[in-house]
């Protein structure tokens, strides 16, 4: 690892505001507010205000800058509470040798002292504001973007234009305080864009200072610092009896560890502007120059102003984004609610909106658990996880974590796809819930930099801290973590949870009601079955009407096809043999359809059979053939066995064919998902009847359903109207036979009998 040598967390305890020195590009004096006596001075005061420290310490401020200027100081409002723009105070006074000195002073209050910092005044302080082009550029470029990334890009570019730094980066801090470079403008070939940094790169004291001081400039990293001494000549640092608090000092000297950090990167000058939204550190504009760079005061002020403007815009964009996400969540929830109102089950709807829900919450996998049913979408672990421990952490039915492995036991595969998770309770008892999964950060991270440029070891062989090294460290930290769930995610999750919970409650209530009414429904069903008898007459009329209506077009079709064939002959067009066959087939089909319609009509209206003494095997074979026309079971084995010397039966062959067709079709449909697909039909005789048994290898008929399956309108299969088996029973009974469910160890077995042609029939 490259970072062992510089452990930045040690800086957390370092009192950098008590460093007792200033950078060399300005001088500092501190005046006791009550007495007006100069109590502290940096050793370089002579350069900026003409007086050496020893000549002014213990003197009045009026002695140093003249009575008139000193009198002008108290009315200045010197607040130290909030970060604010640099407010330089310009004045001039007579120096000790009588020359006039122009001063640019940055005054502020620190405890009992007023600290005055002097920098070299610019000849034309307001020059940059006169730059019409720059101003216009700023306005158009900064106010145009409505996307966060674009705004950051524009800001970085403008700040580099204004300050002339080699590299301007915009960092954004995540909730866990790690930083990401979201924008960069540079004249250098390498790029830090897209890199992430561990939180420890910016120690806590530095972070505090970033909030308190919007602007921090270091024109020369290696410039000799100038110590601040008190009236006794002691350096006023942390070890002193009365150190001087430099929290708000613009000139404050640089901490050694920071000097090393910047030197490691080859940075000669740096500047940072804090981006503060909602009173917290949102991010940072970090400017690096690969050599010393002193930026003029007016440009600094301008850059500071840009920083504040950017902060404000970022806040507005971020608020908008948050709002938009919430609105999207509300919209999705509303959409689901609407569809649920039309009776669609919640499970279906959530699955349908899976992509939406995952996009909205920045997740890649989704598990909807409704009791025993689990619906999966996106990428989910192959081995299911137990989310109960995560549920235990939920507040108002929502729990999120970016390190699910710390909450739930999981293996490496699970950790990849479910590094982080959001848990939404959809029922009070937790039996129903929605879990949204975030993949490992490594897999979701956007790598936009140029990873080949990694400086790790310096010429002297020591390990060096570099942005790349930091990134590696950061990745190490991210192992087994997902991107964190932020406030915006939480808002969306809460909105979705509220809606889905409500819908699920309604659905559960309905299911409970349904179950409660099940017995009543059963009663109603029986009543319906009884009413069937009464319905028979009207059903007969209906059958008659349908038969007539169907027969008309059937007749027409048959006529047309016959006419067509004849017209070909009349026109002496030689018709392809195959076409003629197809026409014959078409006619045969209309005849068959007409036949079927009329026989069923006859049967329903009058219970009439068009019975003949027939060979039962012929009818059975025909029924099976028909059933296999639409069969899609290529593995199906069919075994038909018939006892020798079967007697004839008095039966309507078409109707018996229908019975076989119905039963075989049911069997085929029941075996669709069976391992073994075998259909066994056996035909036997006794002295009175011919008995037919049809056995399949499907799941069989549940015991509680066996007594109902022959009743009309009982949908025992998912297809059809549930009259197939009842029709079978009616037909068999009309033939004087019976039909039943035969107990069997494998699949379902249905048996029926038809009376055999006996001697009394002769």
């Amino acid at each position: 690892m490259t970072t062992d040598q510089v452990d930045l967390t040690t800086c957390d305890r370092e009192p950098i505001h008590l460093i007792g020195a200033v950078q060399p590009h300005g001088a500092l004096i501190a005046v006791n507010d009550a007495t007006g006596i100069v109590e502290y001075a940096s050793l370089n005061t002579a350069t900026y205000i003409g007086h050496a420290p020893e000549t002014i310490l213990g003197q009045t401020l009026a002695f140093v800058i003249g009575a008139e200027n000193a009198a002008a100081l108290p009315p200045l409002e010197l607040t130290t509470t909030t970060p604010e723009l640099l407010q330089p105070w310009f004045f001039s006074f007579d120096g000790p040798d009588g020359t006039r000195i122009d001063a640019e002073c940055l005054p502020h209050r620190s405890d009992a002292h007023i600290i005055l910092e002097f920098v070299t005044p610019e000849p034309k302080p307001a020059a940059v504001w006169e730059d019409e082009l720059l101003r216009r550029g700023v306005i158009t470029e900064l106010f145009k973007p409505d996307v966060l990334g674009e705004l950051a890009d524009a800001s970085a570019k403008i700040i580099r234009d204004v300050t002339g730094f080699d590299r301007v980066m915009i960092y954004r801090f995540a909730e866990d305080k790690h930083g990401e470079v979201i924008a960069e403008s540079t004249n250098r070939p390498d790029s830090f864009l897209g890199l992430h940094y561990p939180a420890s790169d910016i120690p806590e004291p530095a972070r505090r200072h970033f909030v308190l001081n919007v602007m921090r400039t270091i024109p020369d990293i290696n410039g000799a610092r100038s110590p601040i001494v008190n009236r006794s000549g002691e350096v006023a640092n942390a070890e002193a009896a009365q150190p001087l608090d430099l929290t708000f000092s613009k000139l404050r000297a640089v901490a050694p560890v920071h000097v090393e950090y910047l030197n490691n990167m080859g940075v000669g000058a740096s500047m940072s502007i804090s981006l503060i939204t909602n009173n917290s550190l949102w991010g940072l504009v970090a400017c690096h120059h690969y050599g010393p760079r002193l930026v003029s005061s007016s440009r600094l002020r301008f850059a500071e102003l840009l920083g504040s403007t950017t902060s404000a815009l970022l806040q507005s964009i971020e608020n908008t984004n948050k709002l938009q996400k919430s609105i999207r969540a509300e919209k999705t929830a509303f959409h689901i609610e609407q569809q649920a109102r039309s009776g669609r089950p919640l499970g279906d709807l959530v699955q349908e909106h899976a992509r939406d829900l995952m996009e909205l919450t920045g997740t890649q996998g989704m598990l909807l658990v409704l009791g025993k049913d689990v619906i999966q979408s996106g990428t989910v672990p192959e081995t299911p996880l137990d989310f109960a421990p995560l549920r235990a952490q939920s507040v108002d039915g929502v729990a999120t974590t970016q390190t699910l492995s710390a909450v739930v036991d999981m293996d490496a595969e699970q950790m990849q796809v479910a590094a982080g998770a959001a848990y939404l309770d959809l029922s009070e008892d937790g039996a129903d819930h929605l879990v949204l999964l975030r993949a490992n950060f490594d897999q979701t991270i956007r790598w936009a930099g140029k990873p080949e440029k990694v400086e790790t070891v310096g010429k002297d062989g020591t390990a060096r801290l570099s942005p790349r090294g930091s990134f590696a460290l950061w990745r190490e930290e991210r192992r087994d973590r997902s991107k964190p769930f932020d406030d915006t995610d939480s808002d969306a999750l809460r909105i979705l949870r509220r809606a889905l919970f409500a819908l699920n409650s309604l659905e559960r209530e309905r299911l409970a009601r349904d179950a409660q009414h099940a017995s009543e429904a059963e009663e109603i069903r029986l009543r319906h079955a009884l009413l069937d008898a009464a319905r028979a007459s009207s059903l007969g009329e209906l059958a008659s009407a349908i038969a007539h209506e169907l027969n008309q077009p059937l007749s027409a079709v048959a006529n047309y096809v016959s006419a067509c064939r004849q017209e070909f002959i009349n026109a002496k067009i030689e018709m392809p043999e195959r076409a003629g066959e197809l026409m014959d087939d078409a006619i045969a089909e209309t005849t068959r359809a007409g036949d079927l319609v009329r026989r069923i009509r006859d049967f329903i209206t009058r219970g009439d059979l068009n019975a003949d003494f027939i060979d039962v095997m012929t009818a059975i074979t025909q029924g099976i053939d028909l059933a296999f026309v639409s069969s899609q079971l290529p593995r199906l084995q069919v075994d038909i066995s018939a006892e020798d010397d079967l007697p004839q039966v008095l039966a309507d062959p078409v109707q018996i064919g229908q019975v076989i067709l119905n039963l075989v079709r049911n069997s085929i449909s029941a075996m669709r998902t069976s391992q073994t697909q075998a259909l066994t039909i056996s035909v036997t005789k006794d002295d009175r009847d011919v008995q037919v048994l049809i056995q399949d290898t499907g799941p069989g008929i549940p015991a509680e359903m066996q007594k109902y399956i022959f009743e009309p309108f009982h949908a025992s299969t998912t297809k059809g109207m549930g009259i197939g088996l009842s029709l079978c029973r009616s037909i068999v009974q009309a033939h004087g036979g019976s039909i039943w469910v035969q107990p069997s160890t494998v699949g379902a077995t249905i048996g029926f009998t038809l009376p055999a042609r006996g001697e009394h029939d002769e």
Binding site: A558, N559, D608, D761
Partner: protein, 202 residues
């Protein structure tokens, strides 16, 4: 084609279902018959030309004046028109009634083209004094002789256009027994259906 030599002969097709009417005319037309489509009995009476040599293909199930009523009306007017009646299947009472009212044949919907053409040709034959092929009385009586008394009784009821259920009630036997009798009657009489029986026995 079959009657190209009878060019002034037409077939009135009376049928209320437009599809059936059009297709029936198409079929007959393809086989060389001139057809005059009529959508109702009333419509037929308006276009009917007594001087034209014609036969009639008549659907009995019509809105307004029914096919049977039209037959009766024509009989009253003394108009003798070789008529083939088209019935819905199993409308035995009506078929029997129509045959007695002078129809020379009946066909059931949906009918095979062959049946329609045969029936129409039989009607055309009537126009030229050709009688429908009659099975000799001897053969018929030979066949009748094979019937049991019970079967003869059932046959009698069948010719009256009675339903199985009615016959069963009257003879105080089960419907299944009647069905058995019917099946054996068809066997012994070499009849495809009731129309054949009516033709053989009037």
């Amino acid at each position: 084609m079959m009657n190209r030599f009878e060019e002034n002969l037409s077939i009135y097709v009376v049928e209320d279902d437009a599809g059936v009417l059009k297709s029936m005319c198409a079929l007959l037309g393809a086989h060389g018959h001139a057809t005059i489509p009529c959508a109702s009995a009333e419509n037929f009476l308006r276009v009917f030309d007594p001087d034209r040599k014609a036969c009639l293909l008549l659907d009995v199930r019509l809105p307004g004046m029914s096919g049977t009523q039209l037959q009766a009306h024509l009989n009253e007017l003394g108009i003798s028109l070789p008529t083939v009646v088209v019935t819905a299947h199993g409308d035995v009472p009506i078929a029997v009634q129509s045959m007695r009212a002078g129809a020379i044949d009946f066909i059931e919907k949906p009918a095979r083209a062959e049946d329609i053409l045969n029936a129409v040709n039989m009607a055309i034959g009537m126009l030229f004094n050709r009688q429908p092929p009659v099975i000799s009385k001897k053969i018929v009586s030979n066949r009748l002789a094979k019937l049991t008394d019970r079967e003869r009784e059932v046959l009698h009821h069948l010719l009256l256009g009675k339903l199985n259920k009615e016959i069963a009630n009257e003879l105080k036997v089960s419907q299944r027994t009647v069905e058995g009798h019917r099946s054996r009657i068809r066997e012994k009489m070499h009849a495809r259906g009731i129309a054949d029986l009516i033709r053989m026995l009037g």
